[in-house]
């Protein structure tokens, strides 16, 4: 690990100031991804500003929904009565990720900020445009079983690996951010992560020094019928090959509203509004679900080793919708 200066921050303003003043500084929260990447020399900050003691861990009701603090731990978020009762999909997605130990450490803000698990990104002996812009993409013609089937570029075929964000996309969450000038701004979570394009080194639309302070969950009618399905190489403690967050609002067996978000298929959680629209107004049955799944996977462009993700994705969508109809996470 490269040597770094460590400072312990007690308020958001000074933490933001410290990181803004040094382009090689980073915020340190749970550290479950950052410390790991620093050990591998993938991340090489010369200064870490410890924000774990900032007062940003509250989870509470706000007008129009629930606000979860950026520094609330994943465990505490998944288990908070407000979250379990109103947004069980989020609890389910968080609990599908990592292990109990990691969820006890990881924060909500950090979870959004986690980086890809592309092996070429992790291996500093390999080319990677995300890690070292201009060196090429090792995965494009290499081993790309776990890589993207949607929205990638010649520069990068990596996926966003998280679970929590897939649920946040389905729940229309809003990310609240504090900037260096002291101003706050919000970004709909759908616009938080980026597609790789020509700048795969940028995972998201945060500016250097900006700090996530909370994630807001607007009220919805999905709590009865939502489901997070994660398909992986082993039953637990593994990243997804494909995951699906679905949410339905159904009245008299007619679908009023739907959400379908796929995980681990693109550089960001992949929401298919087209498939969602195909569900709205229809009766909730297997045929409708099959149609939606076909539509959701329509523009997929598999690489050499991940064609399986298309069929897997379709089946996962159908199964998740069926589970949601049967009470799902509720």
């Amino acid at each position: 690990m490269k040597s770094f200066k460590y400072t312990r921050s007690t308020d958001a303003a000074s933490a933001i100031q410290a990181v803004s003043a040094n382009k090689d500084a980073k915020f340190l929260a749970g550290g479950t991804n950052l410390i790991d990447l620093m050990k591998e020399y993938v991340e090489r900050p010369n200064e870490l500003v410890d924000i774990t003691r900032l007062n940003l861990a509250q989870i509470n009701s706000v007008k129009g929904g629930v606000s979860i603090g950026a520094l609330a731990k994943n465990t505490d978020t998944a288990n908070h009565p407000l979250v379990r009762q109103n947004f069980p999909l989020l609890s389910q997605a968080i609990l599908a990720g990592a292990s109990a130990q990691l969820r006890n450490m990881a924060t909500n803000g950090g979870n959004l900020m986690q980086r890809t698990r592309c092996q070429y990104f992790y291996d500093v002996a390999m080319p990677c445009n995300k890690r070292e812009p201009g060196t090429g993409c090792g995965a494009l013609e290499g081993l790309n079983r776990i890589h993207a089937i949607f929205g990638y570029s010649e520069k990068c075929v990596a996926t966003y690996p998280g679970d929590m964000a897939n649920a946040l996309y389905a729940l229309d969450a809003i990310v609240r951010i504090k900037s260096a000038n002291g101003q706050e701004r919000t970004i709909p979570v759908q616009d938080f992560h980026r597609l790789p394009g020509d700048t795969p080194e940028k995972d998201n639309n945060l500016q250097h020094g900006e700090l996530i302070i909370a994630i807001e969950l607007p009220k919805n009618n999905f709590a009865d019928k939502s489901y997070y399905l994660k398909v992986r190489d082993r039953a637990s403690y593994a990243f997804a090959l494909v995951s699906v967050a679905v949410a339905l609002e159904v009245k008299n067996n007619q679908i009023k509203q739907a959400r379908i978000v796929l995980g681990s298929v693109a550089h960001k959680p992949w929401r298919s509004t087209e498939a969602e629209n195909a569900l709205v107004g229809k009766s909730a049955n297997d045929e409708t679900f099959q149609q939606a799944a076909q539509i959701a996977m329509k523009g997929a462009k598999p690489l050499a080793h991940n064609t399986y993700k298309i069929e897997l994705g379709k089946r996962a969508i159908v199964l998740a919708l069926q589970k949601a109809m049967n009470g799902g996470a509720a």
Binding site: K5, R8, D36, L95, S99, A100, Q101
Partner: protein, 280 residues
């Protein structure tokens, strides 16, 4: 106490030591008393029916726990870059450390405090061998910077037993054969002990079916225990024993031990049979 036991203790009391070890021992008079106190403990423990194997494990654990007092003598600190001063409580004892900002809690425990019970497996958050309990929560010490632990309370596997009395989870791991090589065991134990609290608090896992209603004092199924322990990998595959141990302590219902040591008579009988085979 039987002669058989006496022989066994002797093997501890008169070990072959290297010159370095002798010097180290001379600097640690506490270890001199160790034989006496251990013998007393072993007597009690043997009377209590604890297995020989358990005694050996505990004896080793105690030696390592004692080594804590040799802090500094064993590991002279090298010059630190970006030094950070940290005060934290480890197994109930206040510690002050001055260390490089890069030092993980795992390395601080093992290299600076000689608490080598906590194990380094993958050192990158994929195996759980380094699991310790910080402020009541199980975490991975390999991905925790010690610098972030100011004022925190850390419990390692050395802190689970109450003096000479094993933590019920430790005793259950022995009873149910919850390990083979033992390398992942300290992490498994810390994880399992923390799991008990999580279940009491009604915390959910990926195996929990009804997330919307929250009950306390969960009764965990085997599937629940497996899911909740998935962050601790055991390469020997002792999982059935680990699950049985956790289930016993969690439920409070005793289940039968399914193994025992072979007796001398049985070994003798086996040898006779082998000879008979050779003749044939």
């Amino acid at each position: 106490m039987t002669d058989e036991f006496e022989e066994f203790y002797k093997s501890f009391e008169e070990p072959e030591l290297t010159a370095d070890e002798k010097e180290l021992l001379a600097q640690m008079p506490e270890i001199g008393e160790f034989g006496e106190s251990r013998r007393k403990f072993l007597g009690n423990a043997a009377a209590g029916g604890l297995g020989l194997f358990a005694l050996q494990l505990l004896a080793q654990e105690q030696v390592l726990a004692r080594m804590e007092t040799a802090e500094g003598a064993m590991f002279a600190s090298v010059a630190e870059e970006n030094a950070v001063a940290v005060r934290l409580q480890i197994n109930g004892v206040e510690k002050s450390l001055n260390l490089d900002s890069r030092v993980s809690l795992l390395d601080a425990l093992r290299e600076r405090l000689a608490l080598t019970g906590t194990k380094k497996g993958c050192d990158q958050g994929q195996c759980g061998a380094c699991t310790v309990i910080v402020d009541g929560r199980r975490v991975l010490s390999c991905l925790t910077l010690t610098a972030t632990c100011e004022g925190k309370k850390v419990t390692t596997v050395e802190g689970l037993a109450q003096g000479d009395e094993l933590h019920p989870m430790q005793a259950a791991f022995i009873k149910h054969d919850g390990f083979q090589c033992g390398y992942c065991t300290p992490g498994q134990l810390c994880s399992a002990v923390a799991l008990l609290e999580e279940a009491k608090n009604g915390e959910a896992s990926h195996a929990t079916t009804n997330l919307r209603s929250k009950a306390r004092n969960l009764k965990l199924s085997q599937d629940e225990i497996r899911e909740r322990m998935s962050g601790n990998i055991c390469r020997c595959g002792a999982y059935p024993g680990i699950v049985a141990a956790i289930q016993e302590v969690h439920s409070g219902r005793e289940t039968a031990q399914t193994w025992r040591f072979v007796s001398d008579e049985e070994i003798a009988a086996l040898n006779t049979e082998e000879k008979a085979d050779e003749i044939v």
